[in-house]
Symmetry: C2
Subunit: 351 residues, 2 copies
């Protein structure tokens, strides 16, 4: 290459590319693992960081970018392009850098590619300050999903001691952290999940006061009424749909609904209709849509606080780890059927 | 009566009572105007205020109390009782009082009965401080609906100069005030209404920058997109249903939806399903249910500010006045078909 890489070693670089746009549920056939190679040096003249990806995060929001949207310009992130590598948060090690803030050998997390090596030219990359903890935590509890739980629950939910808190998808990457933050804040917290195993995990591992399997309940509103006889102060919503509609009926005066995700709705061509939003008028309930992008300025504070909770045993972590990039498509697809137990991630290498 | 009224004059007291519970739309047959009499003195031993009702307010929320609810205990206000007089805000003149704060001859507004005279024992009664303005204003722009517009728009909507504001039912009691407060706050404001006459009123009388007749639009989302090419910062929702769903699609990042009323939904057995709430996640939109009951502590400040706006010509008022208590049922029913132009009230007497 002209003025570019000289004598750089070349490595294999397997990657997951978008094979076709998703309609409805994503399937493994929507993606393809392809072989490629990469020069292990940043091209001359480019300010960039070349990282070896160690852990990839699997998150529901990727599905939105895998679909094709007519109104792409108005969407939060552009659609992925056919044949190009998927992107999402991940943990990596710096192999080469021409960026003054990063040096070879450093561990980082941030927006990366679904591939073995990624050349990063954007600035959404953070140093890992606590290498004494498992690096994979920076895909979850110490990364984007942990910050989502922290900022969503504390800044949007604004818990008070004694509040009654309900969390859906409660054993997932975000839910497991929200429940434990709710206990730290002195709240009574109940979670819902989709298997008895996950319900058990909520009570035995994550300190939820109570939990239920929504698939075993014929009437979610009644299930919530039994568990919240005085009503709900904060509902942290990861699922939308019927669970959100049922929770709206049980909100207390001045309650807050933190709308963080709607995994039940992402794959529907026509979303379920919500019928109970009128309840928010007499009870003056706040329903606030939330995404983490506005909160990276509190990351430093969050990281120190969360590391302390983990070390003190106040926050436990459950991860579901797939091994190798070939397993990444199946790991992502599994999120939409709830196959994962805890934070889903893919391990590509340990260092 | 034992220890009670001695030598008190007795007057005719026509009243509107609930004849049957409402299902779907309220109709005149759900109510009955009956003859009664009243002693024109507060019974001895009772701390109360006897008022002659001058103006009655007609508001959509009355319909909810005219229905029969299984879950009455959890509702914001109890159901009206068959055969008993309807209650709502009104303006009156004190005829007799044993309450230290009120004297005969004073003008008051507050929660009263749909009848010619009401004996008031509760404390939700306020003195009228500005008798130089039409007394009827205290059923609307200077009363509950004006305070609703003021607190909802300013405290919940939190407008900034240059914000793009959309108001539905924009010529109604609340909407006409919201639009004018939006102009005072330096916003660009567009309203929707259900007749061309009302649309004209919005532009010529209330200073709306633009307005449209939602009944002439086949696609409300497209109508909003044309009028808000940059999106909506504040949607002040008085109607719910399809208009709310369309507005959710057009909200800007950090937008606020003040959910004040859902007149399109009150009379449906099964509310319309909202399908676009997911939009609030990527754009971090706040959807906040609002009712005026939490804001009476700012009434004094509101009254002075609003009186000044009216005197300065910054807030215009349009009222739709029915004459005589016999017309009250039809006036109330007309709200649900949008027959009223502006604030609907009933005049019983001028003083």
């Amino acid at each position: 290459m002209a003025g570019g890489v000289e004598n750089a070693a070349v490595a294999r670089n397997k990657k997951v590319v978008l094979r076709r746009h998703v309609t409805g549920f994503p399937s493994e056939e929507d993606m393809e693992v392809v072989d490629d190679t990469v020069a292990l040096r940043v091209p001359a003249g480019l300010k960039a960081v070349l990282i070896k990806n160690l852990y990839l995060s699997c998150d529901p929001w990727m599905c939105g970018r895998m679909s094709k949207h007519e109104d792409e310009a108005s969407r939060p992130a552009p659609d992925f392009i056919l044949g190009e590598t998927l992107v999402n948060y991940g943990v990596g090690k710096v192999i080469d850098s021409t960026h003054p803030d990063f040096k070879a050998g450093e561990l980082v997390w941030g927006m990366s590619g679904w591939e073995e090596y990624t050349l990063i030219t954007h600035s959404h990359l953070f140093k890992i300050n606590h290498t004494e903890l498992p690096l994979s935590y920076y895909t979850g509890v110490l990364g984007m999903t942990g910050l989502t739980a922290y900022a969503g629950f504390l800044e949007v939910g604004r818990p008070k001691k004694g509040d009654f808190v309900f969390v859906s998808a409660a054993s997932g990457a975000v839910g497991q952290v929200v429940g434990q933050l709710a206990k730290i804040a002195g709240c009574h917290v109940v979670g819902s999940a989709g298997t008895d195993e996950k319900v058990n995990l909520l009570k035995t591992k994550f300190g939820y006061d109570d939990a239920f399997n929504y698939k075993s309940e014929t009437d979610i509103a009644a299930a919530l009424k039994r568990r919240f006889p005085e009503g709900i102060d904060i509902y942290f919503d990861n699922v939308g749909g019927a669970t959100l509609d049922a929770a709206l009926l049980q909100m207390r005066r001045g309650g807050r609904v933190v709308v963080c995700g709607m995994i039940s709705q992402y794959t529907l061509e026509k979303p379920d209709g919500l019928r109970n939003l009128f309840c928010i008028i007499p009870k003056a309930v706040r329903v606030e849509g939330f995404n983490v992008s506005g909160y990276f300025d509190v990351y430093g504070k969050f990281e120190e606080e969360m590391v302390r909770y983990i070390k003190e045993g106040k926050v436990a972590v459950v991860e579901d780890v797939a091994e190798g990039i070939e397993k990444a498509p199946a790991a992502l697809v599994g999120l939409f059927s709830g196959r994962n137990v805890g934070k889903q991630l893919v391990e590509l290498a340990r260092e």
